[in-house]
Symmetry: C2
């Protein structure tokens, strides 16, 4: 389903319920470019550690625009042993919301634009009908703007001048309009003195020759005033929602706590956080349950069976033995893709294919169980280790601690890696998984700090979210 | 006429002859944005001097892309007392030429993109079918690349490895292809020893399973070899021309020496130089004969008659007395614009309107002559003073001179402004026009330096160009 500014509001409940009912979600993004520094393949396929790659992408990729977001929801139908899918193709564009809203600048990279153009990508749809969005900071700012204006206009006794531009003071009346304004003021004053209860309306044309402008003044009773204020507030809330736009879909994905699958998804995730949430943190962290099919395909037991891990090649190889293609049908009312007729590099299609690859690989893991199982649900423990995090500890400590204190604490374990979360917590990666248990045991009686395994940390967060 | 990558080569002779026969040219550009710093109106309509505005635009506007270029040529038909026009709308995009060619990054500004989108601008046409271009430095680089490769492949005796990537050395043969390559080498060697004169062809499939690749080897005599080399050279020249692309149109405009008219044209001209010529010089200079209709409209005698100088408003006012709309017809075979049905903000249409405004204002100047003249040709002295340059001197001097030497030289004239051209020349703006003659007289017997009026300088350049 194609979603643009035109049908976004009407589609939102469909999107929400698709996310809600799904077993897992697959995503993919298309961008206006990849790198404003090193060349693309060096940046995305180099031999960097994930941390190094994160730092490079943060530095060289974040000024490009994510302008198409593909979401494919997968829901398992137990009775029929098949997945039911719903695919959404969102077009995204930061259309300025009003005169004071941010005027986003983004970079385009010719080779990426040319690549997408050659695939028939519809740029007009993006620029003319893209869905706007705000990150959390911008949303808060806009909300505050509305509240300030509202409290100004409710300010009893002292009716101050209200302008969409908060920097403007009361206007001064140009000479040639003085007489006209005088007449209007007179009419308004006479309206105060009449005892009529009906709404008095005063219209007039100010400077007809350039533009038609009217002043309308109504006399209302208290009840009517409250009704109008309520109406206005509702309208403002709706405007705010419209401005937050596509970010609402990302909020829903995040709140759902569902597994999110992507192929080589680091860049997609980083853009998603950066564009729709907040400034990226200094180090690689993630608040979503993520699974990267490219990473999965290059890990045991798939490493031996799969030669090329680009999405198209991976899909081809997963159609052959020992893998099985999953049974998948498109939900009623959704346009379906024809996997024979490739539509690669459309975000929605890529998300769909990524989901298929994930299911094939997950089910393959099931063949090792006794007895073997044909269907491995996305919640299964079997697929937790992609990406492997079982050498990672979550450590909390006093505000005074520095990186050196953490190195000190783990000095017995050789080479460690520290990723700060905030003032009082960090992830610490040990070089060997079997050190984790030792670290946990040693820390049991510690008072100044606390250690959790990564799995415990994730579980804790999930409980917080559900409660 | 719409010109894209698809019909560019076929249209080029039409464009060249339109420029050649024209009395004057009008241009206009559309950009992916205006400012990455100060807001748009501050940058383009502020109270800055031209020099200050130039510096600001250089700093804040040059990373945007000029992606539509409008050219309207105006040719006066003496017999019929009317102008014949030809309009071209060029779509421009820096499609990477090959794997080693520059991968241009450019900025987009949401408000500008949104503005163009609301006018129905066709972004797909730009990104899918835009004409590529190279600036002079890139053109030289590409030419050198070709020449280097050619001299390598002609290098007698020592046949070196030739790769499109100049950094690559001879490849090493992977283990699994050894046997196959051995067989090929054997076949090639047997080809050398046969006395057959016909071209021997050897084809084979190298690694069928991934991609089909063939090696073809032909045995040719000397004459055939030369013929093929010539063919290749012609092909390369054509590729080079294709890569230089739209810059060829700009070269033709510049070489023609024709008057170029634009409305508020500083940004258009700067982008044109920057994208299709070279890095912008430190100071405001211009090698084209330029006339800005916005500047003209805000100068005497128009200043008193024209209130609003935006292009659309200017056109409206120039339809009314004391101005006259010029008689203009579209050349045969060219699609014509309907001025009643405004297509403002399409570069070709804006160029057309700009030309109309120029003609109306030029002809109005003719009414002051005795006897009055209804048609003022674009070469007339009457329209030279827009923009006024008659207080500007062109000074040449020894390499050792610094700005302080120029201040010293003109110390008698009060406040002056120096714009360096190169090591041995600069423009010096005097504060009063009547100082020019004094400066000219004083310098007559000088030996270390030389002074010309701006008009002499322009005339000199034009003669150089024509010879
Ligand atoms: N320069 C360049 N950019 C590309 C190329 N392929 C993809 N891109 C860019 O990478 C983005 C992601 O592409 P996608 O099809 O999702 O690739 P994936 O990483 O294989 O999923 C696209 O939106 C393009 O901006 C390419 O061959 N060259
Ligand atoms: N942000 C913004 N950009 C604009 C607006 N109008 C024009 N532009 C940008 O300015 C460029 C030149 O516009 P053009 O129609 O030639 O304006 P002109 O300067 O009046 O000739 C366009 O390509 C847009 O990028 C506007 O109202 N807002």
């Amino acid at each position: 389903m194609e979603v643009t500014r035109t049908n976004f509001k009407d589609s939102l409940s469909t999107v929400y319920s698709a996310i809600e009912e799904a077993d897992f979600l697959a995503i993919d993004g298309e961008f206006s470019g990849i790198s404003d520094g090193p060349n693309v393949s060096a940046l995305t396929n180099g031999l960097d550690t994930p941390e190094e790659r994160y730092m490079k992408l943060k530095k060289h990729s974040m000024d490009f625009l994510l302008f198409q977001f593909g979401l494919c929801t997968f829901t398992y139908d137990q009775a029929e042993s098949k997945y039911v899918i719903k695919t959404f193709n969102f077009y995204i564009f930061p259309k300025p919301f009003n005169r004071t809203s941010p005027d986003t600048k983004f970079i385009c990279q010719s080779s990426s634009i040319d690549f997408l153009a050659s695939q028939g990508f519809d740029f007009n749809k993006v620029f003319r009908h893209g869905i706007p969005y705000l990150n959390q900071e911008e949303e808060v700012q806009l909300r505050e703007q509305y509240e300030e204006r509202r409290s100004q206009s409710n300010g009893s006794g002292n009716p101050s001048y209200i302008s969409p531009n908060p920097n403007k003071g009361p206007g001064s009346v140009p000479e040639e309009h003085r007489e006209y304004i005088g007449r209007v003021v007179e009419k308004v004053e006479s309206l105060f003195t009449t005892s009529e209860k009906t709404t008095g309306v005063l219209c007039d044309d100010i400077m007809g020759f350039q533009k038609e402008r009217y002043i309308q003044i109504s006399k209302v009773d208290d009840e009517e005033r409250k009704r109008r204020e309520r109406q206005k507030q509702e309208r403002e809330q709706e405007e705010l929602n419209d401005a937050v736009g596509f970010s609402r879909v990302i909020h829903a994905i995040s709140k759902s706590g569902k597994l999110v699958v992507g192929h080589n998804m680091l860049l997609d995730v980083m853009h998603t956080i950066h564009q729709f949430y907040c400034v990226l943190p200094e180090y690689l962290l993630c608040f979503l349950r993520l699974l990267d099919t490219k990473l999965m395909a290059t890990t045991q037991p798939f490493k031996e069976l799969i030669n090329i891990t680009s999405l198209a090649e991976l899909q081809k190889q997963l159609k052959e033995s020992p893998f099985k293609s999953p049974k998948v049908v498109t939900a009623e009312g959704f346009p379906s893709y024809d996997t024979a007729q490739e539509q690669l590099h459309e975000a929605g299609y890529d998300a769909f294919i990524t989901g298929l690859c994930f299911i094939s690989m997950a089910n393959y893991l099931g063949t090792f169980l006794t007895p073997p199982r044909a269907h491995i649900p996305s919640q299964s423990k079997l697929i937790q280790p992609f990406p492997k995090r079982d050498h990672v500890l979550y450590v909390t400590f006093p505000k005074e601690w520095k990186t050196s204190d953490l190195y000190q604490l783990f000095s017995a374990f050789g080479n460690i890696q520290v990723s700060w979360i905030d003032d009082t917590s960090a992830f610490v990666s040990l070089s060997q998984t079997d050190q984790v248990q030792i670290a946990m045991n040693t820390s049991r009686y510690a008072e100044s700090y606390r250690i959790q395994t990564y799995a415990e940390y994730v579980q804790g967060r999930q409980q917080v979210r559900e409660s």
